[in-house]
């Protein structure tokens, strides 16, 4: 019997989007000096709002506000800073649905994910670091904040990346100037309102919207003591170069090309789920996505047929529909990049497969896609696609799996699927990656340090380790 799920859209009435937004500087929304830009719903290409663009002068105002606030904020007892952060965490929980809907509208991710993954993690992150604010002396990294943190975040998890940046910075006594991504500024601006509701002292959090030049102004500002960036390795490189010779402390969370390794003794059904979560979660717009499936040759055929069957059940469409598994690609530019690399995959001789999957007429969409017959030398096995595209390779022995997994300039994450514990640990030891998910994938928690090896960046976010980026080294 065919069982069709009727549309089950989450109501967008819960969020009130203003026609235009200013910059959030010194506790107030102010006009920007640049030419305002539009942010669109990638699922419909409808304009959601007009957003101010911060110029170098605007960024300077924001940094000045943050510098001024630093004196006040860093002088507060940790327990008082903690209470502000707890308060913010609570308001996030209270307004979680509103934030989730806004995130899905602006980003294109399924409401299921913004509601069940992003928002709970955002609130949890603030709760977690709130608790550290008055316990820094026990963490082992000293207790002296750095000053003003310039933070630039990507569009794939707009509010979650904001939380990863702002919560530890504030807990340690720093103030921040944060630039959200150009295509997803709205939840950051709603967060600014939350800061107002929480009575956070003006200037502790400043949000400057804009494109790459705004980001460069934040990173390059001479009065910024700390640079935190999440985004592409390409931009990360530029930032690393630009801070050379300065005293700015830097943490970078960059790209990845993770191997998800499935052994012949794996729990197959869960491995299939892990592969799906690994690459199709958030449309594959995940730096730690399991974009390279390394499957043991002896079970490759069986696993692929299970995987394909499973992919046929994925529901692509309206991000606000509660049953949507795959939402929209965040932007036309990103869609073009995914298409370009996928075409390269075909041209290089890999076989391309997607389930029958009608795409909506408007908006930016890409079907879940699997490439088989992929070699290590193919571009789709080496370059980060940042989309719902899986490259499948095979291996014969554990040593070969490790060799192939590590054969990349990246080193953010890896997955291992085996029911044999000693083999799992053997693999985990040898994989050059900052996060190893064994018999699971794409799990995140505020208590758990996250970050890369090699060209995936440096520094850790989350956990006790996450404090180190925002405190002066003990000398």
């Amino acid at each position: 019997m065919i069982f069709e799920y009727a549309p089950a859209p989450e109501s967008r009435d819960v969020v009130d989007i203003r026609p235009s937004y200013g910059l959030f500087i010194n506790g107030e929304f102010v006009d920007g000096s640049g030419t305002p830009f539009k942010t669109v719903n990638p699922a419909s290409e409808e304009t959601l709002a007009e957003v101010a663009a911060a110029t170098e002068a605007d960024v300077d105002r924001a940094v000045q506000a943050a510098r001024k606030a630093f004196g006040v904020w860093s002088a507060l007892p940790g327990s008082e800073r903690a209470k502000y952060l707890f308060r913010i965490a609570r308001i996030i929980q209270e307004r979680a649905r509103e934030l989730a809907v806004l995130e899905s509208l602006d980003n294109g991710k399924p409401i299921k994910e913004s509601r069940d993954v992003d928002l709970p993690l955002v609130a949890a992150h603030f709760f977690y670091y709130a608790g550290w604010a008055d316990k820094l002396q026990y963490a082992g990294y000293g207790t002296t904040p750095l000053g003003v943190a310039g933070q630039v975040i990507p569009w794939n998890f707009p509010l979650l990346m904001l939380a990863w940046k702002i919560a530890p910075a504030l807990a340690c006594g720093n103030t921040v100037v944060l630039k959200p991504a150009e295509t997803t500024p709205l939840t950051a601006l709603l967060f600014a309102e939350i800061c107002q509701q929480a009575d956070l002292p003006p200037g502790v959090v400043n949000i400057v919207t804009g494109a790459g030049d705004t980001g460069a102004a934040v990173v390059g500002h001479p009065d910024v003591d700390k640079v935190a960036f999440t985004g592409s390795t390409e931009v990360g490189r530029l930032i690393a170069k630009s801070v050379a010779g300065t005293n700015k402390k830097v943490t970078l969370e960059l790209g990845g090309k993770a191997a998800n390794i499935v052994f012949d003794d794996a729990a197959i059904d869960q491995a299939v789920e892990g592969i799906v979560t690994g690459i199709f979660f958030n449309q594959g717009h995940v730096c730690c996505a399991g974009s390279r499936l390394l499957v043991q040759e002896s079970i490759a055929e069986e696993l692929l047929s299970s995987l394909k069957r499973r992919l046929s059940t994925l529901r692509l469409g309206d991000p606000l529909d509660k049953n949507t598994d795959i939402g929209a690609i965040n932007s036309a530019a990103q869609l073009a990049k995914i298409r370009e690399l996928s075409e390269a995959g075909e041209a290089e001789g890999a076989s391309r497969w997607s389930p029958a999957c009608p795409l909506p007429d408007k908006g930016f969409w890409f079907p879940p896609t699997v490439f088989t017959g992929v070699s290590q030398s193919h571009r789709i096995a080496r370059e980060e696609i940042f989309g719902p595209v899986l490259s499948v390779l095979t291996f014969r022995t554990p040593a070969e799996a490790v060799e192939k997994a590590n054969n990349t300039p990246y080193g953010l994450s890896a997955g291992v699927w085996t029911e044999k514990a000693s083999r799992m640990l053997w693999m985990a030891n040898r994989l050059r990656a900052g996060v190893v998910w064994s018999n699971t994938f794409n799990k995140f928690d505020p208590t758990s340090p996250f970050g890369g090896y090699k060209e995936s960046g440096y520094g850790r976010e989350g956990g006790r380790h996450g404090l180190e980026a925002y405190l002066k080294e003990i000398s």
Partner: protein, 309 residues
């Protein structure tokens, strides 16, 4: 995996322990994820009617009487006497001594009569008694037999005993369909649930069923998920379709709809049919009827408007 000759515990063990493992946390997460599907409006109406038509309306109490069974059977045929568009349920499920009574009421309505047998619910008796129990129920007119496996034998690794018992009961069933109750609440691990599912299918069971309803936990979503994966894989490898029946603990429309979503996205639409999927339950029927009425009238329903039988 091909069907082994089942000549020894060793060969059965090799087959069953050669099945892929089940990671409990992953299976729980997948079931919970499917549990968040939002089934609304037309889909909900379809799901409610589908669920009603899949109910095995059950009474398995020491206090069951002829009167109680007759009333339940009447309700099985016409779940809502005020609304003829409500489908009949799939079957009634009773103890063997009440099969004749049930048969009498359901008649040729199309509602099947199922009977538990084999020293239900513990299964602690000799094979002779179990076969006799089964034969009696079949002779009294049962269309379906819900047997219990010997969990003690299974847990002690005596797979051959379980296998041969199922074969013997299958033979005693004759034309009647055999549902094999695994009593998953006593099997402790999902690995065991998968192995027991395969053992039951290899021995010839027509259905695999989670629970007797006398042991907790019973028909949880993840256990049902694992069993649905088993019947899916079994058809892939052996070409034979086996049905699935979660039983015990399904009380609300929401519970029932989650089960249907699980079937739809795990074993697939082929199983969305009363011939291949059943819900062993009793109280869920009234909740389904109340929800159905709400969809029709637009008003929330009250229990006083539905019969208690």
């Amino acid at each position: 995996m091909s069907i082994p000759t089942a000549s020894s515990n060793a060969s059965l063990r090799a087959s069953l322990h050669g099945l892929p493992g089940v990671d409990r946390v992953g299976a729980d997460a997948r079931a919970a994820g499917l549990g968040t599907r939002s089934i609304k409006t037309s889909a909900k109406r379809q799901a409610i009617d589908m669920a009603i038509s899949m109910v095995d309306l059950t009474t398995l109490e020491g206090a069951d009487t002829r009167g109680k069974v007759r009333a339940m059977c009447a309700k099985a045929v016409h779940p809502d006497p005020t609304d003829p568009t409500v489908p009949k349920v799939a079957a009634v499920c009773v103890y063997p001594d009440l099969v004749a009574e049930a048969r009498d009421v359901v008649g040729s309505s199309g509602v099947k009569v199922a009977s538990v047998a084999t020293a239900f619910p513990s299964g602690r008796s000799s094979l002779e008694v179990k076969v006799a129990d089964t034969a009696m129920a079949v002779a009294a007119g049962a269309d379906e037999i819900d047997m219990v496996i010997d969990r003690g034998a299974f847990l002690s690794g005596d797979y051959l005993k379980v296998f041969e018992e199922i074969q013997a009961i299958k033979e005693a069933c004759g034309e009647a369909h055999l549902k094999v109750i695994l009593e998953t609440g006593e099997l402790a691990t999902y690995d065991n649930v998968r192995r027991a599912s395969w053992l039951a299918m290899m021995a010839g069971g027509d259905f695999i069923k989670t629970s007797t309803g006398k042991v907790q936990p019973a028909a949880t979503l993840p256990v049902t998920l694992v069993m649905l994966e088993a019947v899916r894989d079994f058809r892939d490898r052996e070409g034979r379709m086996v049905g699935v029946k979660p039983a015990g603990g399904i009380r609300t429309t929401k519970d029932a709809i989650k089960m249907l979503v699980l079937v739809n996205e795990t074993a697939g639409p082929d199983w969305l049919d009363p011939d291949w999927f059943r819900l062993g339950a009793s109280s869920v029927l009234n909740d389904l009827l109340m929800q159905r009425q709400k969809l029709t009238t637009g008003r929330y329903a009250g229990p006083d408007y539905f019969t208690l039988d």
